[in-house]
């Protein structure tokens, strides 16, 4: 006869949450913020090729924090979903909210039913258009989805960074100021982050269909100076 130990559902959820939080806290953080004419995504990322920020669709971007292999698979699924939806219906029918909901469902399922919860947090950003608003959807490891009005912070130490950033970002600023505040918030008072260790992407209209663009080191230095 095998021994089964009783674990209360409360304890089980608590253990799983703790496990996921620990995993996420090991990675570095990222900030997503709305600025006057676009959306900024900035992550502390020493790797120049393993991206945390990515284009999903014409006006939708993705950012992940936590375990790279787990959020990168979600990123790929997001691009497939978006391209598949646009192919089946129309490009304007691809909505960030629907994608954020799918992520929330999947993370929620993995949290309760998976072998282990996914150690990731996801941000789905949408640049507004005539038919849709500018939005930041943050999806947590257990599937909680929140609609952030001005900015969102993902990753370890999110609360401290959030408090630092909130002190400057009660309203919407231009890109230069928003980026500076975001980098200051990520670094904290005792530290500076080298430009090479920053990954920066923006969603901004520039007269073309696709609005996502990565900013290179020179552009970031220029904006931070």
């Amino acid at each position: 006869m095998s021994n089964y130990f009783y674990v209360s559902p409360e304890q089980l959820i608590k253990d799983r949450a703790e496990f996921a939080q620990k995993g996420i806290a090991r990675g570095r953080s990222m900030v997503g913020a709305i600025y006057d004419v676009g959306v900024l995504l900035v992550a502390e990322n020493p790797s120049a090729s393993l991206n945390k920020i990515s284009e999903i669709y014409d006006r939708i971007a993705f950012a992940g924090a936590g375990r790279y292999n787990e959020f990168d698979r979600l990123r790929e699924a997001g691009i497939r979903w978006a391209d598949g939806t646009g192919f089946t219906y129309s490009r304007e029918d691809v909505d960030a909210r629907a994608l954020a909901n799918y992520y929330a469902q999947h993370l929620g399922d993995m949290f309760t039913e998976g072998q282990k919860p996914l150690e990731v947090e996801i941000l789905v950003a949408q640049l507004g258009s005539k038919i849709r608003p500018t939005k930041l959807y943050r999806v947590a490891y257990e599937g909680t989805i929140s609609d952030e009005p001005l900015f969102a912070v993902l990753g370890g130490d999110a609360e401290t960074i959030r408090a630092r950033f909130a002190a400057h970002e009660e309203q919407i600023h231009p890109l230069k100021e928003t980026l500076k505040n975001a980098v200051d918030a990520l670094a904290g008072p005792e530290r500076t982050i080298a430009v090479a260790d920053l990954e920066v992407g923006i969603l901004e209209d520039r007269g073309t269909r696709r609005s996502f663009r990565r900013l290179n080191d020179d552009e970031v230095s220029e904006l931070l100076s």
Binding site: S54, A77, I79, R80, D83, F87, R210
Partner: protein
């Protein structure tokens, strides 16, 4: 449609076509006996700084179905894709190609090479043409940023992909367009020469092939003329295209409908 997650061994990778097949988004393969002519003429001429493409605008069934169809489209910034054959399949094919190139770029954060794009289309053409009577025959031309040259890729009915270093044509007007190109092409041709020769070859095709629409001076509809260079895919304005075809037409009128002993 739910979140398309795949296990590591069943993952379609950055290929949109393979994902679309796995997800059941592509047209099912069927066999039948319908006959579909590829009534069209599209020409690509390579010159020293890129490629010129010229395509007629007429969609032909048993009668003229449309006079202002676009048979050349930008697959991405540096790549033009033209189609002949069944309109429905051709349009789906262009859409699939556009989406595939962009999909690859987003998935891998790097653009496909021009040769990669040309090869990618081969099995899609093969799948369509060898399993369905609804034939599609594409023509791909682009600017190759890694080698700094314009390149042309043509296909055979089974999806075989061949690079052409001079010019290529597709569609029912090909024999006539090809003849004009063979006589007029020089290896040192420049942009102006390529545009002039391309327009002349299309005029010839429109003049001789009932399924190719030449310049329509009554409705002010002219063949599409496009250049693909370092600056990307650029379409010539209607006024410029109209002037070119009007000049050819005037010359032909003067010489009584024949070229008049010279290539003009």
């Amino acid at each position: 449609m739910g979140l398309p997650l795949f296990s590591a061994h069943g993952d379609p990778g950055p290929s949109f076509f393979h994902y679309a097949e796995a997800a059941g988004l592509t047209t099912p393969v069927f066999t039948g006996t319908a006959e579909s002519p590829h009534a069209t003429t599209v020409i690509a001429v390579r010159y020293n700084a890129g490629v010129v493409m010229v395509g007629d605008r007429q969609a032909t069934g048993n009668y003229i179905a449309s006079r202002d169809v676009r048979k050349i489209e930008a697959a991405d910034r540096y790549t033009a894709l033209a189609i002949s054959g069944t309109a429905a399949r051709g349009i789906e094919f262009i859409k699939m190609a556009q989406l595939s190139f962009e999909h690859y770029e987003k998935m891998t954060d790097s653009a496909l090479s021009l040769e990669g794009k040309a090869n990618y289309l081969s099995p899609i053409i093969q799948r369509n043409n060898l399993s369905s009577p609804l034939f599609v025959m594409p023509l791909l031309a682009g600017w190759d940023p890694s080698h700094q040259v314009g390149r042309i890729f043509e296909y055979d009915g089974a999806g075989g992909c061949y690079e052409r270093f001079d010019f290529s044509t597709i569609g029912s007007g090909s024999p006539f367009a090809d003849s004009a190109l063979r006589l007029g092409y020089r290896s040192d041709i420049d942009r102006e020469g390529a545009l002039e020769l391309g327009a002349l070859a299309l005029y010839e095709a429109g003049d001789n092939d009932p399924s190719t629409g030449g310049p329509d001076f009554v409705r002010n509809i002219y063949p599409m003329m496009v250049t693909i260079t370092e600056a990307g895919f650029q379409e010539l304005g209607t006024d410029e295209v109209a002037a070119r075809f009007r000049a050819i037409n005037d010359r032909r009128t003067q010489s009584g409908g024949v070229a008049g002993g010279t290539l003009r």
